[in-house]
């Protein structure tokens, strides 16, 4: 069993933090192991994105704590990169410029940074598009840039917030297998938020299934299917059904 990288301990969050009105997350706890692909799955508006944003340090929990290698998370840090649902690419930078962003901030020497950026652009399959601007790319390509931009910083954890939900079904399937390939090549720890059961079962080693708001952890499901996974196999469909029933309660 690999080491525990991240501990999420009894997180509580209210929509209105001062008045403690409208609970969004109700005491969620689980561990994330090093190198695993873990998915946070839950119905729309259940607070799963909020949980991811707390892990990223973009929001603060009201109760509980999150430990990364035993150290409490208090804000955004270079050890966690995030991929957003709407890509959030910098429109004034080219593909290469976007990927270079994190390296410039880390003050990596130019030659080395360029080499690294090109390596990750190649990893996500965008060779030849280095000088294109985001508005010139399709949705799938933009999300590839966002993934390269986050991975090039070599964070401990890659946080992904419904990154494929804006794509059409076919592109989404392609991107899912691409994501598995990239994960296998880089061996990054990935926390992947989604509301799509099939996506979670296809991608993840484990799935943290959350309830409707306020989000509670319903179950931590181990997905013991061989990769590459077959979406139409009996085991795959059975697991989907099990998780579906779990959420429906």
């Amino acid at each position: 069993m690999s080491e525990i990288l991240l501990q999420i301990k009894n997180i509580r969050k209210w929509f209105n933090s001062q008045e403690k009105e409208l609970m969004v997350i109700d005491g969620v706890s689980f561990d994330v192991r090093e190198g695993e692909f873990i998915s946070i799955l839950g119905p729309s508006g259940c607070g799963k994105t909020t949980l991811l944003r707390i892990i990223a340090g973009l929001e603060k929990q009201d109760e509980g704590e999150i430990l990364l290698r035993g150290k409490s998370i208090t804000g955004p840090g270079q050890d966690r990169s995030m991929v957003f649902q709407d890509y959030a690419l910098f429109p004034w930078r080219t593909v290469l410029g976007n990927v270079l962003f994190g390296l410039e901030i880390r003050k990596i020497p130019k030659v080395e940074a360029l080499e690294k950026a090109k390596k990750f652009i190649k990893l996500v399959g965008l060779e030849g598009f280095e000088n294109s601007y985001p508005h010139e790319l399709s949705g799938g390509m933009r999300q590839r840039v966002a993934i390269a931009r986050a991975l090039v910083c070599e964070p401990e954890i890659l946080l992904m917030d419904e990154p494929l939900s804006a794509l059409d079904a076919q592109t989404r399937n392609v991107m899912q297998s691409e994501l598995v390939r990239i994960w296998q090549e880089t061996r990054k720890t990935i926390i992947y938020v989604t509301h799509n059961i099939e996506e979670a079962v296809y991608l993840a080693d484990r799935i943290a299934v959350l309830s409707r708001r306020p989000a509670k952890l319903l179950d931590l499901v181990e997905v013991e299917l061989e990769r590459p996974r077959n979406r139409f196999s009996k085991e795959f469909i059975e697991l989907r059904a099990r998780i579906f029933n779990l959420i429906q309660g």
């Binding site: 270079q78 962003f101 986050a150």
Partner: protein
């Protein structure tokens, strides 16, 4: 299409010149009151070439252009410096915005021309006084546009930068806020430049400085030379047009990433 546009362009100017020429000869016919375009063109060329007929009494087009551009550059550069810095800080910090808002809103409606007496009392008849009027005219469009640009930078860019490690405010400003607000800044720059160029004429008209296009317009009126007045007016128009084109060109080059950009 191109050829047609070209034709319409010259046709339109041609009609205007013919009407003007006809109006002069039919209704005016007095060189001390108005000049026809045929005369203005000759005077304009003589002024530009430094013909002694005009140069001896101090009318030298190129020298006056240089002085006007000098006033403009001095005033406009300070307006950019001040407008951009304050706009950046006020756009970034709500407290600063609230702090400067009343001052800006109080001073902004005062026409730059109304500042001329104070400029003369404070700075005497100097180039600095002319630049000051230009500064007043240009600083607010630049400041307000920059402020608007900074405060409307989408949150997702800031958050993306945060998760990529840009946790220092200075880095965030340099790498995200400033580039993201450049389109709004350039908008302010062009509007500000237009106002600044108009202020050049206003400032010089009042004799804030003894040189410049605006001052010579006024002087030529005293000499009853409408051909000279109109020549200088023409020069003001041409330079204003060129300045606007320069900013448009710079904008197109520097903000090429906006080409075909659709707001999602």
């Amino acid at each position: 299409m191109r050829v047609k546009d070209f034709f319409i362009f010259f046709f339109s100017i041609g009609i205007f010149l013919v009407l003007w020429e006809a109006y002069y000869w039919i209704f005016i016919s007095n060189p001390f009151v108005l000049a026809p375009p045929s005369k203005v063109i000759v005077t304009f060329i003589q002024l530009t070439l430094g013909d002694p007929k005009f140069a001896d009494s101090g009318f030298q087009m190129l020298t006056d252009m240089a002085y006007s551009i000098y006033h403009y550059a001095l005033g406009f550069a300070s307006a950019i410096l001040v407008g951009f810095s304050i706009g950046l800080i006020a756009g970034w910090s709500k407290t600063v915005e609230k702090l400067i808002y009343p001052i800006v809103e109080l001073i902004r409606p005062i026409p730059p021309i109304a500042w001329i007496p104070i400029a003369i009392l404070l700075l005497k008849l100097t180039h600095t006084a002319a630049a000051f009027i230009i500064f007043i005219g240009a600083v607010f469009p630049i400041l307000l546009n920059t402020m608007y640009g900074v405060s409307s930078v989408e949150k997702k860019y800031v958050e993306a930068a945060l998760t990529l490690g840009a946790t220092k405010t200075s880095t965030m400003l340099r790498k995200v806020i400033i580039p993201a607000s450049m389109p709004a800044f350039f908008n302010g720059l062009r509007v500000g430049s237009g106002v600044a160029w108009m202020c050049v004429v206003a400032a010089e008209l009042f004799g804030v400085s003894q040189f410049g296009l605006g001052y010579k317009i006024q002087l030529a009126r005293l000499y009853h030379s409408p051909d000279v007045v109109i020549s200088y007016m023409l020069a003001i128009g041409i330079i204003g047009l060129i300045l606007d084109r320069i900013y448009r060109l710079a904008e197109d080059r520097l903000l090429s990433w906006r080409r075909g950009f659709v707001v999602e």
